[in-house]
């Protein structure tokens, strides 16, 4: 950009000039270096550790033995096959449902549509395995519906297994896909659809020829993200998989049950390869699709849905959101009755659980600290990356965002490998959990603040300069307040995901310091459905109240969240 505030005249190799420019504000330069070291240490090195471990590093010469073990054991191959096929199927279903629900929500102003949106986003605030839990309540071996089917028709049926995992994934990862598809459909210039209608196309035709092609990059992005998350799904296979092997859960069992780090690392590598490919594809190939072209400033509203389209999207949306609400209701009910479906007397006994409350407390504290750190580092990094000359900036940005794409299981295993000995012996400390949660999520604050920085005209900083503010004063007085929304976006996202995160931290908790999500998973595995439901319920309430408090702050201070 030629609008950069220029520094004294320079001569020499461009790389050298950049380096000189970089050091011209030593405070920011030192921060950048520290940041780079942390990114390498807490995002990159764990992944490399897993890669090296899969070749037997640390136990003698490098070897392919663990890979040949993988390919000659049908159990491992099946875990790969199961993970990929479940992820593919759930991605397809989520994408389809996202389009239908988004169409309804974005093309209708009604209160009903808005509440559908709320219901669709509900799974965000719950642990990722919440649906496994309630599916078991309904369709498990002693499930309410299973019992009824057995009694009425003598049908033997249970949800455990591959399809149970698929259904749980669809429900659990739906909000992620939905949010991206919805924003793609919302940002589209409505006059394009009006034009299509005006030229004689009916709404189905407009949908197929205009709306969906224009939202294509958003939809592809959504499906890729859902696929990556479903592939890395760890807790659903553990609870509802019925012993069927999946990559992430199998890697966990190998570490915890057999201490077979090398074999677990091999499974981790198979988790990370697809994530890495998709991440690179998304970063370098998908970003070019021009969103400016399709976004318009036209104030026109979208045309209302015609009858036939409306019937279809409303039908799908209603069935789906009703199902989500039913499953949530099951968890709430399960929390307040003795044994749901068997002894439905009201009780609060599931809530009197000392360990549960302790783990909730730990989770809140740890998530809060991580969220502050992740958001703070994210916006600082966003500012530095958007405005400063930094050698190797692109690489650092790539690595930071890569942290978001690394499956939690891989990160967890990597952290054990790196921090289980000198020079940084951190295993079992709360600090390590905080670092893990923070650095996996700083990419969100980074992206939010980079995009916010692009909206802040450089003249704002120049004006501050002109009025006498040096670089640090300008950062503190002008940039930080303007980046508030990005900070809050990073904070909210990190806090929510940290509260319910499990696949990575499950490797890092020490006896005595439990986290709520991990604790609930243990309860569910032990079939203590009542207690698991009660803890999930409290967890959901806490997350929702935190969001509520933020909304309240937003109203009070006028800071847009």
């Amino acid at each position: 950009m030629d609008t950069e505030i220029s520094s004294p005249r320079q001569r020499g190799h461009p790389w050298f000039i950049n380096l000189k420019k970089f050091w011209s504000e030593p405070g920011f330069a030192i921060l950048t270096v520290i940041l780079a070291v942390f990114i390498l240490l807490f995002i990159v090195s764990p992944v490399f550790a897993v890669l090296l471990k899969s070749f037997g590093m640390g136990t003698g010469a490098l070897t392919m033995d663990y890979y040949s073990e993988f390919f000659s054991t049908s159990f491992y191959l099946k875990s790969l096959l199961n993970s990929i096929s479940a992820a593919l199927i759930s991605t397809g279903i989520v994408t389809f449902l996202s389009i239908a629900v988004s169409l309804y929500v974005t093309r209708s102003q009604s209160f009903v549509a808005k509440s559908y949106r709320g219901a669709a986003l509900l799974p965000l605030v719950a642990p990722p395995f919440i649906f496994s839990l309630s599916l078991i309540i309904l369709f498990g071996r002693n499930g309410i519906i299973t019992q009824w089917l057995d009694g009425m028709f003598g049908l033997e049926f249970s949800i455990y297994g591959f399809w149970g995992v698929v259904i749980s994934q669809v429900l659990g990862y739906f909000p992620i896909g939905y949010m991206l598809v919805e924003s793609a459909l919302r940002n589209m210039n409505p006059s394009l659809e009006h034009a299509s209608g005006d030229l004689g196309a009916n709404q189905w035709k407009t949908l197929g020829k205009i709306t969906i092609p224009l939202a294509k990059s958003g939809i592809i992005k959504a499906s890729l993200l859902v696929f990556v998350m479903a592939l890395a799904d760890f807790s659903n296979p553990l609870i509802i998989g019925g012993g069927k092997p999946f990559l992430a859960s199998e890697a966990y069992l190998l570490v915890v049950g057999q201490q077979n780090m090398e074999q677990a690392a091999v499974l981790g590598v198979f988790l990370i390869i697809p994530s890495l490919i998709i991440f690179i594809f998304q970063t370098y190939f998908l970003k070019d699709t021009n969103t400016e072209m399709i976004s318009g400033e036209s104030g026109a509203a979208n045309a209302p849905l015609t009858k036939s389209v409306k019937a279809v999207v409303v039908g799908i949306s209603t069935l789906f959101t009703a199902f989500i609400i039913l499953l949530f209701a099951m968890v709430v009910l399960g929390a307040f009755v003795k044994i749901i479906g068997i002894n439905n007397t009201f009780t609060l006994e599931h809530f009197s659980n000392r360990n549960g409350w302790d783990s909730l407390y730990t989770s809140v504290i740890v998530s809060f600290i991580s969220a502050i750190l992740a958001a703070g580092i994210g916006i600082l990094q966003g500012y530095l990356f958007a405005r400063k000359t930094i050698p190797g900036k692109k690489v650092l940005e790539f690595l930071t965002l890569f942290g978001l794409a690394v499956p939690g299981t891989v990160m967890g295993i990597g952290y054990i490998l790196i921090f289980n000995g000198p020079p940084l012996f951190l295993t079992g400390t709360v600090l390590l959990i905080v670092l893990n949660m923070t650095f996996r999520k700083i990419g969100v604050g980074l992206e939010a603040s980079i995009s916010k920085m692009h909206q802040i005209d450089t003249s704002m900083e120049e004006a501050s300069n002109d009025l006498g503010g040096g670089p640090y004063k300008t950062f503190g007085k002008i940039i930080v307040p303007l980046l508030n929304p990005a900070f809050i976006a990073g904070f909210v996202y990190t806090f929510m995901t940290a509260m319910v995160s499990i696949s990575s931290v499950i490797f890092l908790i020490a006896p005595g310091t439990n986290l709520a999500a991990v604790y609930i998973l243990n309860l569910a595995e032990q079939a203590k459905i009542g207690m698991a439901s009660a803890m999930s319920f409290i967890l959901i309430v806490i997350v929702i109240s935190c969001m509520g408090i933020l909304k309240w702050i937003e109203k009070r201070t006028g800071v847009r969240i």
Partner: protein, 359 residues
């Protein structure tokens, strides 16, 4: 230029972006209390030049002195220049008062002194009582005044305005022009005003600099720029012009300009084989019986005047006639007489083809 005091003096300024000379060897002396505008099409270097003066852009060579002090290598905060940005760059999270206070706080002024200066400047820009508003609660014109006040409060020696009126609607633009002139007169401000709007530059400036491709095309008072453009570029960029290439000959003691079927008497012109006459549309008159005849091919009604396009031989000339209650109206296809002024302005034919205007 020796008659100017060089309160702000630019000497041989050069700036190159890659192969493009954005600012090419520019020297100007600007008086204290003068309003000078930089005008030119986009990419002519006017904004770059302004940013160099403000310290936001480093120049490759040349020097800048302000009030007898060399300011070349000072950073923006250490130059006593005040920049008003095109989009105003008001800090959205601060009130009007806090925006104006920002620079004073950095100068570590006492609170009471700050208050005094802010109230003074608010009254100068006629925004008393607006201190508690946020920039988003102000109209475009008010935001503009705040941006100016934020600079003025620091008593800059030069005020730099980067296309300050381009975000305002036509009516407001007029008002703000007057406003800027008024502030200039009242406070004896030295102002550099960047614009691409020739009408704005003509009406607001003491002197104007017409720039193209990083070069000064003309530096003059507005009326001279309009009536005596130095070259074809200036003639075309500032106002509308009929430029007719022909010859100037003397016979029987009279001097004639001659181009195809067009021949008319001129005064004070040197004989030449390729003379370019610059004739403004309002300098030509139409009549019913003149010797030079043409046909009206297009008529554009403009409210206060009507523009006729008249074809004479291979030439097409624009003629503006004021619409009074009595003026004659012509129809498309009418054959009319054309009366040229006997004092056209002649310019030298430029060596290279004039660039396409990109306005």
């Amino acid at each position: 230029m020796s008659q100017h005091d060089g309160f702000l003096s630019l000497k041989n300024l050069q700036k190159q972006f890659g192969d493009v000379k954005a600012v090419n060897n520019i020297s100007v002396d600007i008086d204290k209390g003068e309003l000078i505008s930089f005008i030119g099409p986009s990419g002519c270097g006017k904004t770059t030049l302004l940013r160099i003066i403000g310290g936001f852009q480093e120049h490759d060579s040349g020097s800048i002195t302000l009030d007898n002090e060399k300011i070349d290598h000072l950073s923006p905060e250490n130059r006593s220049t005040g920049m008003v940005f095109q989009n105003y760059a008001l800090f959205p999270h601060m009130t009007v008062y806090q925006n104006i206070e920002y620079g004073l706080k950095i100068q570590k002024l006492q609170k009471s002194e700050r208050k005094k200066r802010i109230e003074e400047v608010l009254s100068q820009v006629q925004l008393e009582g607006y201190g508690d508003r946020k920039p988003s609660e102000l109209s475009g014109g008010q935001q503009q005044r705040v941006a100016i006040a934020r600079c003025l409060v620091l008593h800059p020696k030069v005020l730099l305005l980067d296309e300050p009126l381009s975000n305002l609607d036509a009516k407001l633009r007029m008002t703000m022009r007057e406003e800027i002139r008024r502030l200039k007169e009242e406070l004896d401000l030295t102002i550099i005003f960047v614009t691409h709007d020739q009408e704005e530059a003509l009406s607001i400036s003491d002197r104007m600099i017409v720039l193209n491709d990083g070069n000064i095309q003309q530096l003059d008072k507005p009326d001279l720029v309009y009536t005596k453009p130095q070259n074809e570029f200036v003639a075309n960029f500032v106002g509308q012009a009929n430029i007719i290439t022909g010859s100037v000959n003397t016979s029987d003691g009279s001097t004639y300009f001659h181009a195809g079927e067009i021949t008319f008497n001129v005064q004070d012109a040197d004989p030449s084989e390729d003379a370019m006459a610059v004739i403004r549309p309002e300098q030509i008159a139409l009549n019913t019986d003149g010797p030079i005849r043409g046909e009206i091919t297009k008529i554009v009604y403009n409210g206060s005047f009507t523009r006729y396009f008249v074809k004479i031989d291979e030439f097409e000339v624009m003629v503006d006639t004021v619409n009074t209650a009595y003026s004659l109206r012509y129809q498309k296809g009418d054959r009319v007489g054309i009366e040229f002024p006997d004092t056209p302005h002649f310019i030298k034919k430029s060596k290279k083809e004039p660039e396409k205007l990109s306005v």
